[in-house]
């Protein structure tokens, strides 16, 4: 017991020491040593037999040390000095006769009166003492040695497993993505989204260092006897301590096997200036390399040449079909309830599937488990309220976020012809986390967003997202845990007009999906981490209805037949650490899709284009009958080789399949875009991507640099035929064509997320080209040649910069430049139906002028006193600082017989904004 106590104390002092080897007053007997190339152990044994001293040292530090020494009856201290010369070993001897040997560390003993230094003239070092008091709790936990596992249990295997959860000591929320490193050279890992970790370590003593962004670094000392549990609380950093040098590995892109993964936390998102000062998750995502958007009023993402429907947007496991408000002006996520955002654009984990281009995983926060807190914000167009707190302290917490607009005042400023217009949106988020016991946690998440737009009170547009999910996390044992999720996602769109009673109508469509997911995580050993699971989604699509509104309406009700399908997948993924430097990750996902009845399916003459002329008849399938099955494996492979701890090379190969398609004949993502399931004629989209990347971290990992190259192939991507009718079409297959596509590019990113100056710079060069050359499929586009997709913008440069002047004041600047998007331009005129009309060139042959925009904002925080009722902050800024009239689109109209070209910019001047936030 005593020995152990000493060790703890000593280590405590190691932590704060700043003194050289100590001079000891006590005298010891002289010693004789005759050793040649002896180990430290032999040397220590020799000394211990001649003196009453007991030595303590770390054998791992001593294994490379050899000592050759021949001395006769020399003073002990002199012998030790002589023996350790050039070995880097330092020693300390306490009053009680304990001697400690450590490598490259200066040691300070426990008691101040003895804690003197010759060079210091024997003065007492008080700094160490004061500091000790301050960080008492931390140091106590850090220096305690935790016994893990049953000491008496039989110990056959050399390794044992230690697992647990890391939580925020203040809020009780799990710390996701915390980096754990066992010993200095031992295995490392990252906590999962529930803050869970599991290690396989040799039995015995270990030090586990834990680091996480925004948290104070900490560590735990364990003695591992057998499999066991260790839960760790981390303290968040309230104030940034000056001159903190983070010298070891934060979780970084060099070490992970994932390629093309970008993670941004909400703090970073909030400091990027955006239009009207509304922190906007999707807008910030568009500043990442490889992510593009067609225009300013569009939050549709085009990731690495993918179309806007090829992104799986998950908000706490719920699929969000329309992630925007106000027809694309704002994204539909309340920043107050979001923790962070992950974008997978290259190596997509096997657990995700169903979309070709990317997975955008938006993780919501868990409510504060300790106390009730909240925040509120007021902006020009929206205001927000967020409340969180415990329902049962330390067990159950909730977080509620609400956001609403009051844009009507803006509409009232409009000319009279718009005075009856109304626009509004709101969104609600509720998450409840309940910890049943240490091994079982339940999560409930609800999301609701609604938009309504009323133009001159004659036509009403509206759309809404509705999502609900329940998740059960269960830890079987230290090696195996599972997450089971079930939920429903719904998206509905409707439009109606009743200004002409004869043709008053209501029209719309909706998507409904119910899903069930099980995911298992198995930590086999240090080398293998295995994920496996099963997903299933049951789709129910109502592709469109058109109904009369009112008694006088002559509108004949029309209903496109409902579509149903079941998409399932099983997957297995193994992360294999071959060596510390070389890691492989291989996954296979087998997806299985069944298009189900009841449905009448049109049949077409074989070998002929699918057109109404070639329709041979139709066939009715009963309820539940399988109309068409598609099944295929998808491969997810990636590898990392780390040349040095801060430089690595990665490669990845991925294949994907997508069974649900968005049909749009507009250039951007619009709420009117309808969704369609794969059926007999419309095959699933397929994609494959090969990518390579170089990752280099410098300046103590504060600067991350990466270069990624990719080549992608897409097939069966749906494009529409000329003059296609996509709305209420009972034979949609005749109006669309499957195109082939290829996309390739280079992405360069430099990122610095710490320090006074932080931010990122990205440059992307990329192309995305489509082709429709199959005459049998119908008409050719651009004579069957490759043509650029709408979102093909080869050059893209973005700078996001933030300068923290002090803790309360920061400045942000972002600048973005990109090549103008392709457009189909007129090349000629002709006279028809009383007017000059335009003749268009090949599809997307020309481009609109290049895009450039710079935005600026200032974030001003109130004082940082921890104990006050409210914390206030202001955001002021200017959007489009240079006032450049970036063309949003270019179009030609025939006006009074003449053909005139116009370019339209949405934000044609600098727009100032202000936002006020309050936290309580």
């Amino acid at each position: 017991m005593k020995k152990k106590g000493s060790i703890i104390l000593t280590l405590l002092f190691v932590f704060f020491s700043c003194v050289q080897t100590l001079a000891q007053k006590k005298t010891y007997p002289d010693v004789t040593v005759n050793l040649d190339s002896a180990s430290l152990e032999q040397f220590v044994l020799a000394i211990e037999t001649q003196t009453p001293l007991h030595f303590y040292y770390d054998t791992t530090q001593a294994d490379s040390i050899t000592i050759t020494l021949h001395v006769q009856q020399q003073p002990l201290l002199k012998v030790l000095d002589q023996a350790f010369v050039n070995t880097g070993l330092r020693y300390t001897i306490t009053e009680e006769g304990y001697a400690f040997i450590l490598k490259d560390k200066n040691i300070e003993t426990a008691f101040a009166p003895f804690n003197t230094d010759e060079k210091n003239g024997g003065r007492v070092d008080l700094n160490g003492l004061q500091k000790r008091d301050k960080d008492n709790i931390k140091t106590t936990l850090e220096n305690k040695v935790y016994d893990i596992g049953d000491k008496l249990a039989p110990t056959a295997a050399p390794n044992a497993i230690i697992a647990g959860t890391i939580t925020d000591a203040k809020t009780g929320e799990p710390v996701v993505g915390a980096y754990l490193q066992a010993d200095q050279t031992g295995p490392s890992l990252v906590t999962d989204q529930y803050g869970y970790f599991s290690f396989s370590l040799p039995r015995g003593r270990h030090v586990i260092n834990i680091q996480s962004l925004g948290m104070k670094d900490t560590r735990r000392q364990v003695h591992l006897y057998n499999d066991g549990k260790l839960n760790i609380d981390m303290q968040s950093t309230i104030l940034t301590i000056k001159n903190v040098v983070i010298s070891s590995q934060k979780l970084n892109n060099v070490r992970s096997v994932q390629m093309g993964l970008q993670k941004i936390d909400i703090k970073t998102i909030k400091q990027v200036p955006v239009i009207f000062g509304e922190a906007d998750i999707l807008r910030v995502v568009t500043t990442l390399p490889g992510v593009k958007t067609v225009g300013e009023a569009s939050t549709g993402l085009n990731v690495r040449g993918g179309s806007t429907d090829q992104n799986l947007i998950l908000f706490n496991d719920a699929t969000i079909y329309n992630p925007s408000h106000f027809f694309g002006m704002f994204s539909a996520f309340n920043p107050e309830v979001v923790k962070d955002v992950e974008l997978y654009k290259s190596s997509i984990p096997a657990r995700y599937g169903g979309r070709l281009s990317s997975v955008l995983n938006i993780n919501g926060r868990e409510g504060n488990k300790k106390q009730l807190t909240g925040s509120a914000g007021i902006g020009l167009l929206t205001s927000r309220l967020n409340l969180e707190g415990p329902l049962i302290k330390d067990k159950t917490s909730f977080i509620l976020g609400a956001r609403s607009t009051y844009a009507n005042w803006l509409l009232n400023l409009l000319p009279d012809q718009y005075k009856n217009s109304k626009a509004g949106f709101y969104d609600l988020n509720l998450s409840i986390t309940h910890e049943l016991d240490k091994k079982n946690t339940l999560y409930f998440t609800g999301y609701y967003s609604k938009d309504r737009f009323n133009l001159n009170s004659d036509t009403t547009y509206g759309y809404k997202n509705q999502n609900f999910s329940v998740k059960w996390k269960h830890v079987f044992n230290n090696k195996l845990n599972s997450v089971i999720t079930g939920g429903t996602d719904e998206y509905t769109y409707n439009i109606g007009s009743n200004i002409l009673p004869l043709s008053a109508y209501k029209m719309g469509f909706d998507i409904h999906q119910t899903y069930f997911k099980t995911h298992f995580n198995y930590y086999l050993d240090n080398r293998h981490t295995i994920d496996f699971g099963f997903n299933s989604i049951y789709y129910k699509l109502n592709p469109g209805y058109f109904n009369p509104d009112g008694k006088n309406s002559l509108v004949s009700p029309d209903q496109v037949e409902k579509e149903k399908a079941l998409e399932s997948a099983i997957y297995l993924n193994d992360k294999y650490n071959i060596t510390n430097a070389f890691t492989l990750e291989g996954g296979i996902r087998f997806s299985f899709y069944q298009f189900l009845g009841p449905k009448t399916v049109n049949t077409y003459a074989e070998g002929l284009p699918v057109t109404t002329d070639n329709q041979t008849g139709s066939k009715f399938y009963d309820k539940g009958k399988i109309i068409k099955t598609y099944a295929a494996p998808e491969y997810r492979l990636s590898a990392r080789y780390a040349f040095t701890p801060s430089f690595s090379l990665k490669a990845a190969f991925n294949t994907q399949r997508q069974y649900i398609h968005m049909l749009s004949n507009t250039a951007s993502m619009a709420p009117t875009d309808i969704w369609k399931l794969s059926d007999v004629s419309i095959r699933p989209q397929q994609g494959g991507q090969l990518s390579f990347g170089l990752y280099k971290n410098s300046k103590a990992n504060t600067i991350e640099t990466s270069l990624e190259v990719y080549y992608k192939k897409i097939s069966n991507y749906l494009d529409y035929k000329s003059g296609a009718n996509l709305v209420l079409n009972h034979h949609l297959e005749t109006d669309v064509i499957g195109t082939k596509g290829k996309a390739y590019g280079v992405e360069f990113l430099v990122k610095k997320l710490t320090g006074k100056i932080n931010g990122w710079f990205s440059y992307t060069w990329s192309r995305v080209l489509l082709k429709q050359d199959d005459l049998a499929a119908g008409e050719l586009i651009n004579k069957g040649n490759f043509y650029p997709a709408n979102y093909d913008k080869p050059h893209d440069v973005t700078l996001i910069g933030n300068y923290r002047v002090n803790h309360r004041f920061s400045l942000s600047l972002n600048a973005t430049y990109s090549t103008g998007r392709p457009i189909t331009l007129p090349v000629g005129v002709f006279y028809f139906a009383g007017s000059n009309r335009t003749l268009y060139a090949d599809r997307n042959e020309f481009r609109i002028p290049d895009y450039f925009r710079a935005d600026f904002s200032m974030n001003i925080d109130g004082n940082h006193k921890v104990h006050q009722v409210t914390h206030n902050s202001w955001t002021l800024g200017v959007y489009n600082l240079t006032g450049r009239k970036n063309p949003y689109s270019v179009y030609y109209v025939s006006e009074n017989g003449a053909v005139n070209g116009y370019k339209l910019s949405i934000f044609g001047s600098a727009i100032p904004f202000i936002n006020f936030n309050i936290r309580f």
Partner: protein, 381 residues
């Protein structure tokens, strides 16, 4: 959707619209454009042939010297004759039970041929209605097909209106060119040989493709607003008339017109559909890669005309914005004060019966033939 976009732009006040010149280089196109509907019931058919021109080209390139004919499935041909530059006309009586196709041989030896098309029934226009609202007069066309068979309609309309000069004139300049700084100008009384300049007519044809479909309705009934005349407009200052001509189309033909309308009347905002290719039912068979723009259709047009009197429109408040002023009748005064005007009537006579002073006004206030014609249309009441 473009309405919404427009609103968004207005909302975000900073938005703006500017002229844009196409960076597209001048591409030689010169594709054949075929316009016109064949009247198979003996009325005059006019098929207009022209060529597409470069964007900056203002000339209308009419296609002259082509051989244009209709051919039935039995191989009988029905020629059309060139009647004016690029216009090919004829009076044909076609059989509704067989199909016909259009054949064109151009001077530069290109051969075009359409798909076979049957003459299409076109119901009569039931009514042209109008409604007065705060903005002006809104005009509606009403039509229906008892057989619920026509479904796809196109309309053209031509507005004609009578209007009067703001001031009537009994005087004229002598010589008629009026004061211009050099020649000696006097005023003289107008006589019967002088043209009528106070009552005129003006016409304007529709220049947009006007389409309507009842395909989504249970009955083939159409009630569609086709134009609006703003309050105070000269069009209804005296007597207004509109002639609406209706055509029936097949679904494909209607879609062709719809595509053309979308392409040329509302393209460009991100929410609008992208321009699509204009493939009609006429193909160049001598060079299949050569596009031809047009859709061959046989449908006897039906017409309806209505009149609207100014008296039916209280408080129409038409104001031509004309001001008269007085000029002393001597050559110097006329040269100095009456340049750019027309004389109207004497306001002061000398004791010898000569004109001492007279009133003048801006020419368009006096002479309506400057903007219209003084020839009364034969259908005018």
């Amino acid at each position: 959707m473009n309405k919404i976009l427009l609103l968004l732009i207005v909302v975000f006040v900073a938005g703006c619209k500017e002229k844009f010149d196409s960076p597209a280089p001048k591409v030689a196109t010169g594709y054949l454009v075929i316009e016109g509907v064949v009247d198979g019931d003996g009325g005059q058919t006019n098929i207009r042939l022209s060529r597409t021109a470069g964007l900056k080209d203002t000339s209308k390139l009419m296609e002259q010297g082509a051989v244009v004919l209709l051919e039935d499935s039995a191989g009988n041909s029905y020629p059309l004759y060139e009647n004016g530059i690029g216009m090919y006309s004829g009076n044909l009586n076609l059989n509704t039970s067989t199909g016909y196709r259009l054949k064109i041989n151009t001077q530069n030896s290109e051969t075009y041929q359409s798909d076979f098309v049957r003459p299409r029934y076109n119901p009569l226009i039931d009514n042209i209605q109008w409604e007065r609202d705060e903005n002006g007069v809104k005009l509606f066309v009403d039509t229906h097909d008892d057989n619920n068979n026509t479904r796809y309609y196109q309309w053209e309309f031509k507005e004609t209106w009578e209007f009067h000069s703001a001031f009537s004139a009994s005087l004229k300049w002598d010589p008629p060119s009026g004061p211009n700084g050099s020649t000696l100008v006097t005023v003289a009384y107008r006589d019967a040989s002088d043209p009528e300049i106070s009552i005129c007519w003006q016409s304007e044809a529709s220049s947009n493709i006007l389409l309507g479909s009842s395909a989504k309705l249970t009955q083939d009934v159409i009630h569609l607003p086709f134009t609006e005349v703003a309050t105070g407009s000269q069009k209804m200052s005296v007597l207004y008339s509109v002639l609406v001509r209706q055509y029936a189309w097949s679904r494909e033909g209607y879609q062709f017109l719809e595509r053309m309308k979308k392409n040329t009347e509302s393209v460009g905002s991100v929410f609008d559909a992208q321009p699509s290719e204009l493939n009609g039912n006429i193909h160049c068979i001598s060079n299949p890669s050569l596009p031809a723009i047009g859709f061959f259709n046989i449908s006897r047009p039906t017409e309806k005309r209505i009149f609207i009197k100014n008296a039916e429109l209280p408080n129409w408040n038409y104001n031509a914005g004309c001001v008269a002023f007085e000029v002393v009748n001597n050559p110097d005064s006329i040269q100095m004060n009456a340049r750019g005007t027309l004389p109207m009537y004497p306001t002061l006579m000398t004791p010898f019966g000569e004109i001492a002073k007279f009133k003048v006004a801006a020419p368009h206030c006096v002479d309506c033939t400057l903007t219209g014609t003084n020839i009364k249309p034969d259908y005018w009441p």
